[in-house]
């Protein structure tokens, strides 16, 4: 593999599961070597199926997948030697100790003897499991199990590490710790990480590039800043004291839409949202216009666009609608019904 070659390249992957469920519908991703790439999307978007194909577990109906310079469909054995996989479900043997799990994993990659023992000690130390290494995995906490899973994926020093929803099911404290760990991994020389997540905050924080996945294909891709930047401007949220009636509502929307640099005005009950090139500068105009319409204001907030906004723009629905899972520490704006958010797309 030349340094400039991508570590992962998937082209036009399609896969339909028995029963007609179309999991992938033209999935395309390219991950540059040595970077952290995030696949972001709700449950069922096709992230895990993509990972299963790239890690040689599943075969696509059509398309190509090249991982670490090897064709995953024609030479799965070569790909397996080059990758580490941390799947959604733990997969560690609960009856065996952490150390035994790691030793077996190493042996499957052909590691033996003192070299393997050293590597296992090093990983136990690194993932803060040195003391627990001799205990059965079933006695571990969720965070410890997850750290062991990551250690299992690293035993043989892979070129590409797949992390499929690494923090799902972890409590906030363990999640933060895992984020720090992944951040450190990303600094490891040459390691490429492909991460899937349905936490917006996680992708924003960890990944250098993000692909937003919806219904089996990538709907947007770029750095977190690029994606947010494409929204051109800040979100302005206004909470009114009372919900205006239909006529007033239309008047308010029209009045605000007349300002230069203010777009995508949406009103849902007492909640008014708009997008502005320069949020803080737009606030006085917005407030003045509302006063003229006789609408009393309870609060105003201006926010830089979040990935949630990006998701809404590309997938056509709020992230929280597509996925009932919690959106991390970042407050997710309440879902806006499509009928009143005509300008949102």
């Amino acid at each position: 593999m030349t340094p400039s070659a991508p570590a992962v390249q998937a082209r036009d992957l399609t896969k339909t599961y028995p029963g007609g469920v179309r999991a992938l519908d033209g999935m395309e991703i390219t991950v540059a070597a040595g970077t952290v790439f995030g696949l972001l999307g709700p449950n069922g978007a096709g992230k895990s199926t993509t990972v299963k194909i790239l890690t040689t577990l599943a075969r696509p109906d059509s398309g190509t997948a090249v991982v670490a310079g090897h064709d995953a469909l024609r030479h799965p054995d070569r790909v397996r030697r080059a990758i580490g996989v941390v799947a959604q479900r733990s997969g560690a043997d609960p009856v065996a100790t952490g150390r035994e799990n790691l030793l077996l994993q190493g042996r499957l990659y052909g590691l033996r003897g003192a070299g393997l023992a050293r590597r296992v000690d090093e990983l136990l130390e690194r993932f803060d499991l040195a003391e627990a290494g001799g205990r059965q995995v079933k006695t571990y906490s969720g965070g410890m199990q997850r750290r062991l899973d990551v250690a299992l994926g690293l035993v043989h020093r892979p070129q590409v590490l797949f992390l499929d929803e690494p923090t799902t099911g972890l409590d906030p404290e363990a999640r933060t710790a895992m984020w720090e760990e992944i951040g450190r991994l990303a600094g490891d020389e040459g390691l490429t990480i492909l991460l899937t997540t349905h936490y917006l905050e996680e992708a924003d924080r960890l990944a250098e590039r993000i692909a937003i996945v919806d219904r089996g294909r990538v709907v947007a891709e770029g750095t977190p800043d690029e994606l947010k930047g494409e929204l051109h401007g800040d979100a302005v949220h206004v909470e009114l004291r009372e919900a205006p009636d239909a006529v007033d509502g239309t008047l308010i929307r029209t009045a605000l839409g007349e300002f230069a640099g203010v777009r995508e005005v949406a009103l849902d009950g007492r909640r008014l949202s708009a997008r502005a090139d320069d949020g803080p500068a737009a606030v006085p105009h917005v407030l003045a216009a509302l006063e003229r319409q006789g609408a009393a204001v309870a609060s105003v907030t201006v926010a830089r666009p979040s990935l949630d906004d990006v998701y809404l723009r590309y997938a056509g629905r709020r992230f929280a609608e597509a996925d009932a899972a919690p959106g991390g520490a970042e407050p997710v704006p309440a879902p806006v019904p499509a009928s009143t958010s005509g300008g949102a797309r």
């Binding site: 577990l57 996989v85 065996a96 042996r107």
Partner: protein, 258 residues
């Protein structure tokens, strides 16, 4: 090839360690045969007095029956373990490593074989302590143990196939409870064939449990009928190969369904 052998041993070791660390499981698999041995042994002690039974001590007759029945009853649950490994994600973890696929399959067979061998030897020894006589000597006992291992492989492989294809505990539990006793009673495990109703005797001729019993008992007798041993043993072996092949197919179908 040597890699596959090495890996088979690593995976077998893992499974054996897991069994040893679940003492409850270990105790139950060993106590159950003991209960059968002494319960059936006491209950049916006088059955040998029936004209035509053909043996003087019922315990002598019962030991192979319990060895074979235990081999079936412990191996037919193998699919539960496989199912658990699938649900926990352990199988997928192994499948993303370069481990030989044959090693994954072989480890099941080898582990089950070792477990069955140990269980069978324990039952034979318990029988000896209880006063059973084995006129066929070590050679005869060895053939009984091998026959029970092969029979166990048949049921273990089918159970694994079921676990991978159906992926439901209920199916395995249902089929097992449905099969174990009828299959055992439709064999010469507890009753001499001469005293079985003729239709049962004919059904038993097609019952692999009975093949293991005929081969084992004949080899254990003072004057073995090697024709019986070879024909039943051969049929059993062929069935074992077919069952392992079936479970390999189901493994492939599992990989397609991932």
């Amino acid at each position: 090839m040597s890699t596959t052998l090495n890996q088979t041993w690593f995976m077998t070791q893992r499974q054996l360690t897991a069994i040893l660390r679940q003492p409850a499981y270990l105790v139950i698999t060993l106590i159950q045969p003991v209960i059968w041995l002494f319960l059936f042994g006491s209950l049916f002690r006088k059955v040998v007095e029936l004209p035509g039974f053909g043996t003087g001590s019922y315990l002598d007759y019962l030991v192979p029956g319990v060895v074979v029945m235990s081999a079936v009853s412990s191996n037919m649950w193998a699919g539960m373990g496989t199912l658990e490994e699938i649900e926990r994600g352990t199988l997928n973890r192994f499948l993303t490593t370069p481990v030989s696929r044959a090693a994954l399959m072989n480890a099941n067979v080898v582990q089950q074989g070792i477990s069955t061998a140990i269980q069978s030897v324990v039952i034979v020894l318990l029988g000896k302590i209880g006063g059973a006589d084995y006129p066929g000597g070590i050679g005869g006992l060895l053939i009984l143990v091998v026959a029970s291992i092969v029979l166990g492989t048949v049921f273990g492989a089918c159970s694994n196939a079921l676990g991978m294809l159906v992926r439901q505990r209920e199916s395995i539990i249902g089929i097992n409870s449905f099969l174990l006793l009828p299959l055992t009673f439709l064999s010469s495990a507890f009753m001499a064939p001469a005293l079985m109703p003729s239709w049962m005797r004919h059904v038993a001729d097609f019952n692999p449990i009975n093949w293991a019993l005929v081969a084992g008992r004949s080899a254990m007798s003072a004057d073995p009928d090697w024709g019986d041993v070879l024909s039943r043993g051969g049929a059993l072996l062929a069935l074992g190969v077919a069952a392992v092949w079936l479970s390999t197919l189901s493994f492939r179908s599992y990989q397609k369904s991932v």
